[in-house]
Symmetry: C2
Subunit: 239 residues, 2 copies
DNA sequence: ACCTGAACACCGTTCAAGT
DNA sequence: ACCTGAACACCGTTCAAGT
């Protein structure tokens, strides 16, 4: 739990930083904001609440960041700048793409209340986004694809991870979730026209009703990699 | 432009619907809300603004929908219920998946200001979402994949479309956008450590700098389909 | 330069009162 | 049952004033 700015620590005199008190900085503001978002959700992040957390007047924040939008995109930048991937020596491009995707998924998942912002601000080609994508370009550049296809393939992988992270983030628990409620509803037959849905879910083995996100993520990645491999074979065939 | 509720059309007496005036319904409210969101963005949608649009007191809305959240999820439901796919007779499962993905992308793209909501509410297994996914299950069920894999493959396709729609929706223009700004920044070399990014973008032909969303979407879909095909071959090999 | 207090123009929603 | 008016507890942000 974060300490709320209480009366004792809140400054009273204007413009006079108390001796020994840390000055307000962009970094301190963003750290506090990230704490609020992680613990209580994006809805809890207000300029006033953030100021209280810092023991400061709401308006003081505006001297370091132009507004609330800037706080939020600063948060996205902060989170994205934590991206780290390590490719073991001699790893194949497939292993590297996997490592990248898992690192990126992990990054996004470590701040579930910010998924929507990360995933939708990612299109704005900020410095942070470029740094996130760099290792992915690196991996795919070693696959033998022509550069235009490296970009397309990278975009496809990014889009998939974004979509997956969104679905995963929307789920309350995270690790796995139970589809038996859905199954029961389908068996009750209250849904007209869902014939394929009913057939597919009905044919699931009992132990398959529990959806495992990790395996789902792997599966999609595997499909994408196989598909990219097929493109490489095609490209080589044209030589 | 939508007509604002002006004084002449706004009711004065409480609880007394004027003769000839349409009664307030959930449907009318959602239609008006969708109009506001499509024209002015989600940020313009407030209960007070919505009421003004309908020529009604803000509180009247609460008799038909429990709150603003309900208005927004009602909007998502409304949009999703417009999903229509037609599979030509004799079409392959690949063609069907393509048709589904294009229909879904089109649906989402027709309300760009709602993309974020559609894509993040989609995880909640509402009736509308089931109806959207049904034709996709139908297509993949005809591919020869075992049911558990039909679900995983469907999820992968959905995640990809979501991620793509998000990226596309975040872009201002839509149809295509120019990467030459990014290229120039990379060539200026102000970005350290972006070696692979620089190499890949640098190797692009001049006519490839313009990014075409339609072709990008096709490419990702093609990869996914090829990957799914590979899974089917594997499954058959185990028979 | 940095911080503050008061004020402005908004929000979503509750609640008691109207018809 | 359906609609309203006033009120409550909030918002983000501007602006002039403090030190």
């Amino acid at each position: 739990m974060m300490g709320r700015g209480n009366d004792k620590s809140r400054r009273r005199g204007a413009g006079r930083p108390r001796a020994g008190q840390e000055p307000l900085t962009r970094e301190r503001i963003l750290d506090a904001a990230l704490g609020i978002v992680d613990e209580e959700g994006l809805g809890a992040l207000t300029m006033r609440r953030l100021a209280a957390e810092l023991g400061v007047n709401p308006m003081s924040i505006y001297h370091h960041l132009p507004g609330k939008d800037a706080v939020i995109s600063g948060l996205v930048e902060l989170v994205c700048s934590g991206m780290r991937v390590h490719y073991p020596d001699g790893s194949s491009w497939q292993e590297q793409v996997r490592a990248w995707a898992e690192a990126y998924r992990g990054l996004v998942r470590s701040h579930p209340n910010l998924v929507l912002e990360v995933v939708s601000n990612a299109a704005a080609a900020t410095e942070a986004v470029l740094l996130v994508n760099e290792p992915l370009y690196g991996a795919l550049d070693g696959s033998g694809l022509p550069p235009a296809e490296v970009l397309r393939a990278a975009d496809s992988v990014v889009d998939y991870v974004h979509g997956f992270a969104l679905a995963e983030g929307a789920q309350p628990s995270g690790h796995s979730f139970d589809r038996s409620e859905l199954l029961a509803r389908l068996e009750a037959g209250d849904a007209d026209g869902l014939t394929a849905t009913r057939r597919v879910f009905g044919a699931l083995a009992r132990d398959e009703a529990r959806y495992d996100f990790d395996r789902g993520f792997d599966y999609g990645l595997g499909i994408l990699l196989k598909g990219i491999e097929a493109r490489i074979v095609d490209a080589e065939g044209f030589r």
